[in-house]
Symmetry: C2
Subunit: 341 residues, 2 copies
């Protein structure tokens, strides 16, 4: 089989030139490129060890199952896994389940049948015993972002509780005592933790008498719009003075309706977001938000899959691992609005 040296010799260039041309880090004049491509064709050269392994029929492939590829959060997470896979010479097969049980089952089966080296699994709804069982039978697997109770595999989440707590403390420090939490269907553990931390953070700073309302809903534009419409329909003297919208999509839906109805942020209402993957820094006004370490989540997920931590003595289940979050302060939080108008 022809090697890189053969191609370089036939094309009349250096090995380094061929290598850099093939990995895309070097742009060559069309003539030189054609010489290299001609040599590759003539010698039937397989461009790199990765491609060669694939062409020999071994997998070296990781399966990655996500609920929804269209949201920037999942898209960015997937990109980070892809980059880490590339660094480790692995291929990645992605599957989007549209957050439906039947497609989750199908894709877990597909990954198993493909004899992949392992599976990174992300759901965005409440797990159930049948799903946990499927995961437990899927071979090497890591559950990321949202828990599947009963899955006995390593788990990796951002520190949702601490993220909620940061948001709660920040709003209470700005003087807010009556606030609204939007997001998380009741059963989602990420949402429970964000809410639990939020309530704790408010109480730590604002004392036990804070009034914390909750509007549950999926992490979607529509749920953000719906919560905003409910907010503006309320009498002005009985509105919360701040909203913690616990995903980028919720913030976007919320902002749309607030702008359309003339509610000024932060003069009339303070807003804190969660995720901070989209371009919230360019919004009017720029959104203060808890930032998830989404690229770290992706990279770390692949590391956990390929190099699972040893279980400590006497431990039966892998530990869950939490990555730290940060609060990014911008321009959407101010003191509580006066209700008199």
């Amino acid at each position: 089989m022809a090697n890189l040296q053969d191609v370089a010799k036939a094309a009349g260039v250096s090995k380094t030139t061929v290598s850099r041309f093939l990995n895309g880090s070097l742009d060559l004049p069309a003539k030189t490129a054609e010489q290299i491509n001609g040599a590759i064709r003539a010698l039937n050269y397989k461009p790199n060890p990765h491609a060669r392994r694939l062409s020999l029929g071994r997998t070296d492939t990781i399966g990655l199952i996500v609920p929804d590829i269209a949201t920037p959060f999942f898209a960015t997470l997937v990109a980070a896994v892809e980059e880490e896979a590339d660094a480790r010479g692995k291929a990645l097969a992605l599957h989007a389940t549209l957050n439906r049980r039947d497609r989750e089952f199908s894709y877990i089966d597909l990954v198993r049948q493909g004899h992949a080296d392992g599976l990174i699994f992300i759901t965005n709804h409440q797990g159930d015993p049948a799903l946990a069982e499927r995961i437990n039978g899927a071979g090497p697997c890591v559950v990321v972002d949202e828990d599947v109770v009963g899955a006995q595999v390593p788990k990796l989440f951002c520190d949702n509780y601490e993220g909620g707590r940061l948001a709660g403390r920040h709003l209470a420090q700005a003087g807010h005592r009556h606030v609204l939490f939007i997001g998380g269907v009741d059963e989602m553990i990420s949402g429970q933790r964000r809410f639990g931390g939020f309530a704790a953070g408010m109480a730590e700073v604002g004392g036990p008498d804070c009034m914390i309302e909750r509007a549950t809903g999926a992490y979607t534009f529509d749920a953000g719009r719906a919560a905003a419409r409910e907010f503006v329909a309320r009498p002005r003297d009985n509105r919360p003075t701040a909203i913690f919208a616990s995903s980028d999509e919720l913030v976007i839906g919320l902002y749309e309706v607030l702008q359309a109805t003339g509610v000024s942020v932060p003069e009339d209402l303070s807003v804190v977001g969660f995720d901070d993957v989209g371009p919230l820094h360019l919004f009017a006004p720029a959104v203060t938000a808890v930032r998830q370490p989404v690229r770290d989540l992706g990279r770390r997920a692949l590391c956990l899959l390929l190099d699972p931590p040893a279980l400590s003595e006497g431990t039966k289940l892998p530990q869950e691992e939490l990555l730290p979050v940060t609060l990014v302060e911008r321009a959407s939080v101010g003191p509580p609005a006066r209700t008199a108008l």
Copy 2:
């Protein structure tokens, strides 16, 4: 093999309840859910025809290769393909190439070896003969979004020329005669067409003496930032009065630098974007942009792959198909700024 009726009977619920529970459209009390899951486990029921086909080892799988999954444009396009695949009972295997030749080759090989039903291929750099050859040997395939010259397969793009033309006419109608086009590495056909249409649109309205500058660069945040920094470094009396930034990422990078350096849009500078997939409507100020029909691109790509159009008589090559674009007017375009300051 157990069917839906068996599960329903064993769980003591209706077939409809089981079906809706499995496709995620019905939330049930925990006890009922556990009855259904118990019945599924006991009977080893495979949830739906799609899963059953997969478990029999047939593929019914489409391969989708994209350069970069992290940008909202590609993420949304992929989601649209996934939804169409779901409607047609197909599974989808996505692969992100990081826009590198070697990974494009590897993934095309991987899809072929997986005996997928077909391939939807998207690159974001200049195609070359070796890539075209690989595509031509890959079985049923559709090339989408960016051309690969020499690939003899159906091709689907948005109408890049018309999109550029709409932007050019709009800016010229607002009075601009000295403008800057940002984006598209020289070799990319999408970029050539956007620029060609832009120049034509400016000339149609503004006459032959318009001054059109061009800053080429990849469709990235960094290229947008770099072009903006060059803009602000110029003497005020020799600046273009409007910029056409030909991707969402370019607009975001551009806006960041303009805000940081105190350039007001549209008072000091008008801006038109391209793609309009991200939340540009919430930016300060909201961005006027040419909107790509990104979901239509995704859906149509799968249709072209599964139901390729018949070649008309005497035609050897499949036609390329263009989807229409629209201009969404918001708040980032005004009359040219006075240069005197």
